[in-house]
Amino acid sequence: MLTAIVFYILATLCVVTAVLTVTLANPVTCALSLIACLMCLAGLFAQLSAGYVAILQVLVYAGAIMVLFLFVVMLLNLTREEADEGTFGTARALTSLVCVAFLLDLYVFVDAAVGTRDFTEALEGFGSLAGVGEALFSRYLVPFEVISLLLTAAVVGVVAITRRQLSVSKASEPLKVAR
């Protein structure tokens, strides 16, 4: 019973903050509600016996990615007009309707497939750091290596794309700063 109550609270909060993220006008408040949403999601992960994922969710998302977002939002220091979105017109309403259709479709599929299924009792240690860690380093060794490349690519990419600005201002010493 308690699980159910917690679930409904978390789920409601999660969805409401998600909706707020895409509807609020100010990017800063958008980012903040996204953080809230991700936190609630971490709670849901925990409920699904994914403790490790839940912790990572808080650390990586709320701790790192969203900070990056907030940083950029502040950096760009958008003026009022820039940030302002204008009214929610018919085209957007219609687009949203398409999305609702998508949602309904999705629900039909999901409900037909797993509508009646229930969770079985979780085994001891399911979703723990040890379990996930072992999977990461055995079965998922290749993806794990790929992710390191991916991060390298991201770093190189970001450096490359932002370096230009630096070299414009400090032409003599472009690289040392970036690296």
Binding site: L106, F137, G157
Partner: protein
């Protein structure tokens, strides 16, 4: 403490040779980038390292025992089979050619050679992974590894007005497509309880009709994955980004996007649909049918009104995605046609963009057809080379494009999809029209003030050899078909 057993054995490493070669080259380029002080040396050495990597990759791939049965290695994350070797050779060739034909153009479009080479090689390592991915997770990561550097590359030109816009558009749409792909993977995982292709195929083979391919969740997941992969091969209606991004990105980057990225995406699509999913179920084919038809129509019709060569090639690329999909209708025989089409298209379009770079001596973002006017008079050699590539794209004998089209059309006709093949024949009429418009402009119009005079002879030579190869494949397509068929028919 849990015993952690790394699932690596030395036999696997030989199978991974091409991938490792490119990975090492990528790291080598990064090292070079950090080692040398002078921009020029950085550029030159990273270029050399990249080329060596491509050469090694091609060499390793061709050492593979093509007749050997394929198997999953490294804990089931990657495949080692003839299919990946076929695409290894292709991708290594594309990488080498991309670097060579772009080399002299980078300066003009104000992209630093070291950055271009580094990101291109990284992107290519993603492609090498894509064609051998054996589970959905690896596939997803490989796609991201391929895409992220390209997003950056599109916006890398310092002087470009449109590069960053192209990068943004590509990024936003690419991320949207990736997310859709990921959601599809989640749904498929929800049904099959596994990420591996083999398990998915096994599940489908054993499951009853109700819970198997007819499972609604599975269908929805497949559809979403099709969207994600369809985006990368630029099949309609997921193609909208192509013209804008191809036009806005610097031409060397467009070259890479049009050849390498799409070849890898097509290979991954074939591997997934043919290997993991038993594709030959009627209603499911209807979807592919619709995508193929829509792509052929949208691409060919869209290209008609274009005056910008890059946009024109972008639209035509959409049409080519449609022709490729034709090969999917006659599995398993069509698989060879599909792979061959991908290879021929990638080589031809790379040549076309390479020649475009050669002509565009100022590194402009837009190259209009009229800019090429009279090229035949000023640079008859290069104009001939460009003509060969365009004819190949148009599918006119005796170029490779005709042979490739022949195989996919024949496969579709044999499988009974006559209507679609006829649609292909008819839309390729449009194709001939717009490609030949460029040809006519080059040979019959008054010369424009395009000089291309101080162009590199090396680039010209490489493009000339590529054109000869395209003609050679057109005259003797048998060996390529044999390899493609050998590599692909076992997937199914």
């Amino acid at each position: 403490m849990l015993p952690i057993v790394l699932p690596v054995d030395t036999g696997d490493l030989t199978a991974l040779g091409p991938l490792l070669a490119v990975l090492i080259a990528a790291l080598g380029v990064l090292t070079v980038d950090m080692t040398f002080e002078r921009e020029e040396a950085r550029g030159r050495w990273s270029f050399i390292v990249g080329l060596v990597g491509a050469g090694l990759a091609a060499g390793c791939a061709s050492l593979w025992q093509w007749e050997a049965p394929g198997r999953a290695i490294l804990g089931g994350a990657l495949y080692a089979d003839a299919f990946s070797s076929f695409f290894d050779v292709l991708l290594a060739t594309l990488l080498g050619l991309t670097l060579v034909v772009s080399w002299y153009c980078l300066d003009r479009v104000k992209v630093k050679p070291a950055e271009f080479t580094g990101l291109a090689v990284l992107s290519f390592s993603g492609m090498f992974l894509m064609v051998r991915a054996a589970d959905m997770l690896t596939l997803f990561l490989a796609i991201e590894l391929m895409s992220l550097p390209v997003y950056v590359l599109a916006g890398l030109s310092a002087g470009s007005k449109t590069g960053r816009e192209a990068a943004l558009k590509y990024f936003v749409l690419g991320s949207l497509a990736s997310a859709i792909l990921l959601y599809g993977m989640a749904l498929v995982y929800g049904v099959t309880a596994s990420l591996g292709y083999t398990d998915i195929a096994g599940y489908l083979a054993t499951a009853s009709r109700e819970s198997g391919v007819e499972n609604p969740l599975f269908l929805a997941g497949l559809a979403l994955m099709l969207v994600g992969l369809g985006f990368k091969v630029a099949a309609a209606p997921f193609h909208m980004w192509t013209p804008d991004v191809y036009e806005g990105a610097p031409t060397p980057v467009t070259t890479l996007m049009a050849s390498g990225v799409r070849a890898a995406a097509a290979a991954a699509l074939l591997r997934f649909l043919a290997g993991a999913v038993l594709l030959t179920r009627g209603h499911w084919m209807m979807l592919v049918w619709a995508l193929a038809a829509l792509s052929m129509i949208a691409g060919n019709v869209g290209a008609l009104a274009q005056t910008n060569v890059k946009r024109l090639l972008a639209y035509s690329g959409i049409a080519h995605a449609g022709y490729m999909l034709l090969g999917l209708f006659a599995l398993p025989r069509g698989a060879g046609g599909f792979s061959m089409y991908v290879a021929v298209y990638a080589l031809s379009v790379l040549g076309a963009f390479g020649a475009l770079q050669w002509f565009d001596d100022r590194g402009r973002e837009t190259v209009d057809i009229e800019d090429l006017a009279g090229a035949g008079k000023r640079h008859p050699w290069m104009a001939s080379v460009m003509t060969v590539f365009l004819l190949s794209l148009a599918g006119i004998p005796p170029t490779a494009g005709f042979a490739a089209k022949w195989f996919v059309f024949a496969a579709a006709v044999q499988a009974g999809y006559v209507g679609l093949a006829l649609l292909g024949v008819m839309t390729s009429l449009f194709g001939a029209y717009y490609y030949l418009r460029v040809v006519i402009a080059m040979w019959m119009d008054e010369p424009a003030d395009i000089s291309g005079a101080d162009q590199s002879p090396t680039t010209g030579l490489v493009l000339g050899l590529l054109a000869l190869a395209v003609l050679f494949i057109g005259c003797f397509p048998g060996w390529l078909w044999f390899l493609a068929d050998l590599a692909s028919s076992k997937l199914v």
